[in-house]
Symmetry: C2
Subunit: 400 residues, 2 copies
């Protein structure tokens, strides 16, 4: 926790925590963290995608476990989102003492997960798995600086981004383990320190609209109205009811815009967002279909026009069942409850999972708060994650 707070001093904005892709404070973060790594006998370097990578040599360099998360932040962030996972990787190496596992342990601090600087997230982990494209290198930030230029300006070789691929070390990847704060209220509500992630939820985003007729609020009797907002409101109530009825599903209408938007005019147009997430794609897609059908049905009953446009259809990413079971067992053997849960937010693990066995451990977020200066962790929960991680390494050793 002290290390996370030490890293939080490196910020682009005085008095707040903001650290974007390869910004000057990122260099300070790399320096300090690299120093901790060398004190732990790790060889560290920044790769062509700006990821800080430190390796502890094990007894057999042909196998490697990767532990990591990201070092960048959102604007006005807390001190733990991402960073805690990288710091915990180092703490885990420290906890090994003189013991060396039969595999290398790499701790990676990904350069970019939040997508703040260029509007595209996961630059670091995409380069790590080889899904970062030459076209994406030309994406520019608000100052017109491209990803390529930013890498160059940092003193790195943009053509070296290919060398960031995990396969370049020559070792067989045993898997990827990510520690991360939950960023939600579930573990706190259950009074549990840790959560073993089963999957990262798939996500549907839609834009829907109900169109009726704008009319005078005084002269148009109720029976002669085509009120778009009343229709949208009935649908929103249905969205909430449906989401409650499907276990572990979340559905959100976060945006609603009403036109013309005057108190004395019956609304002619209501436009809403729909965000649906679930660990099983079939459940998610079936729910979305039912919600859109309900919108159409309500609109027809009310003489409104209903339209729906898909903005995102991102499949769920399951964690590796065997790897997750090893992690779950480690949590139990370390003396904690193994609570299995779904991640509703995206993480680097989502990018890495298609390429190697991946597991993820959540730490309780006090107040469910994240992406906010009040973001916190409990010291006891960090200890629980550390004990579970150390047990995980020994369990993994046994499995080989």
């Amino acid at each position: 926790v002290e290390r996370c707070i030490a890293l939080a001093q490196f910020s682009e904005t005085p008095g707040a925590i903001t650290r974007t892709f390869l910004s000057p404070p990122m260099r300070d973060a790399h320096r300090l963290m690299g120093q901790w790594m060398s004190e732990l006998d790790m060889e560290s370097a920044v790769d062509g995608a700006g990821n800080l990578r430190g390796v502890l040599r094990g007894r057999d360099a042909s196998k490697r476990l990767v532990i990591g998360s990201h070092l960048d932040t959102v604007p006005n962030a807390g001190a733990y989102d991402g960073i805690l996972g990288v710091v915990l990787g180092c703490a885990l190496v420290e906890a090994l003492g003189d013991w060396r596992p039969s595999f290398d342990v790499e701790v990676v601090g990904f350069s970019e997960e939040e997508g703040v600087r260029f509007g595209v997230p996961f630059i670091g982990s995409r380069a790590f798995v080889g899904s970062w494209t030459p076209e994406a290198m030309r994406t520019a930030d608000r100052q017109g600086i491209t990803v390529r230029q930013a890498i160059q300006d940092y003193g790195l070789d943009p053509d070296g981004i290919d060398a960031a691929h995990y396969s370049r070390c020559g070792a067989r990847m045993l898997g990827y383990l990510e520690f991360h704060i939950e960023q939600g209220p579930v573990l706190e509500s259950l009074n549990l320190p840790l959560g073993v992630v089963d999957a990262i939820a798939g996500q549907s985003r839609w834009r829907v609209s109900f169109e009726g007729h704008a009319n005078h609020a005084g002269t148009t009797p109720m029976s002669l109205r085509k009120d778009s907002l009343a229709g949208a409101a009935e649908w929103i109530v249905g969205v909430e009811r449906c989401a409650h009825a499907v276990p572990s599903l979340v559905a959100t209408v976060g945006r609603l815009q009403v036109s013309p938007g005057a108190g004395n005019v019956v609304p002619g147009l209501a436009e809403a967002s729909l965000d649906v997430r679930h660990a099983e794609d079939a459940v998610r897609l079936e729910t979305v279909r039912a919600l859109l059908d309900a919108g159409q049905c309500l609109a027809t009953q009310r003489g409104l026009e209903f339209r729906a446009e898909q903005l995102l259809d991102q499949p769920a990413v399951p964690c590796d069942p065997r790897f997750r079971d090893v992690l779950g067992r480690a949590v139990r053997r370390a003396g904690y409850v193994e609570h299995r849960m779904v991640s509703g937010a995206g993480h680097d693990a989502m990018i890495v999972a298609p390429h190697m066995p991946t597991a993820m451990l959540f730490l309780r977020s006090p107040g469910g708060v994240s992406h906010h200066p009040d973001e916190a962790v409990l010291v006891g929960d960090v200890a629980a994650a550390l004990e579970s991680g150390a047990t995980f390494l020994r369990e993994l050793e046994k499995e080989l």
Copy 2:
């Protein structure tokens, strides 16, 4: 109808109809309409409030009937709102031929009803009944020109506004009759040309808010949310259901603003408008109370904060029962159905009614359209109004 179209050419905006308080095109409207009045043997003048007033002398100058409406328009208006009522007054005088009633007939074109230029409506009719105050004379338009200055610039004496009072003519006021387009869809839906107005509805306007917690749409399970929009939506559905259940009541949520308003964030705050209208104040106030109670109740169930702030509480204005009955009888004797209805919008009649017997006749609005260039009337409906008006004058004569 041709005269209304002729007046529509006098506009501040080329290609559209916009004529605000004492603007240059209003001078043209006064000139043309004054010319029609003199052709009808009427003495006409513009009073200190900018009202055009023409008098046809009857057989007894100690009694007077006033027929009128307003000559100003909203921006990008139609050709009939207000204007038709003034033109119909003149047409009625014309229809008398050589017959003179036993009372003077005054036709008034009020200078200002819409409130466009100064943000305060009814300048003309308020001056006519003496409820225009010296303070209100200092209200300024967007160019910083006050009502007083505008009157002076037009060549009138702002201190003469007191002389606009109806009592200055010395005659006893028999009453005020206003013809106006319905501006709503009711008469068209009933396939009727005319409506006799019982009352101008009272109006309540409120601002309400539901406050919950903004949370991550992915990481916050349905059961741990305090979704302000879901609460507001349930309330809006209830507002509509309640309004349907109370005969002749209209209730509208025309504005709804959601914060933070991002698709992936559970809304923390939802602010809505409420507009409730009914001819009986007790019904209106009871309904508002029930709707606010329902909002509070819903909010409590959902763990939200509910707040409500009153913006307007305008009592209903009933038409004079005797005068209205004379008008209703005239409509029937002229051969039309006497349909009684409530005006959901405000009119000059609302300002005049507390001071003298007032009646109002609505003409069907095709498509229910008003405040729009597509605003229209049917020629047959105008003829029906004219016949009914002529019969009204003879019925009134008999009553005296």
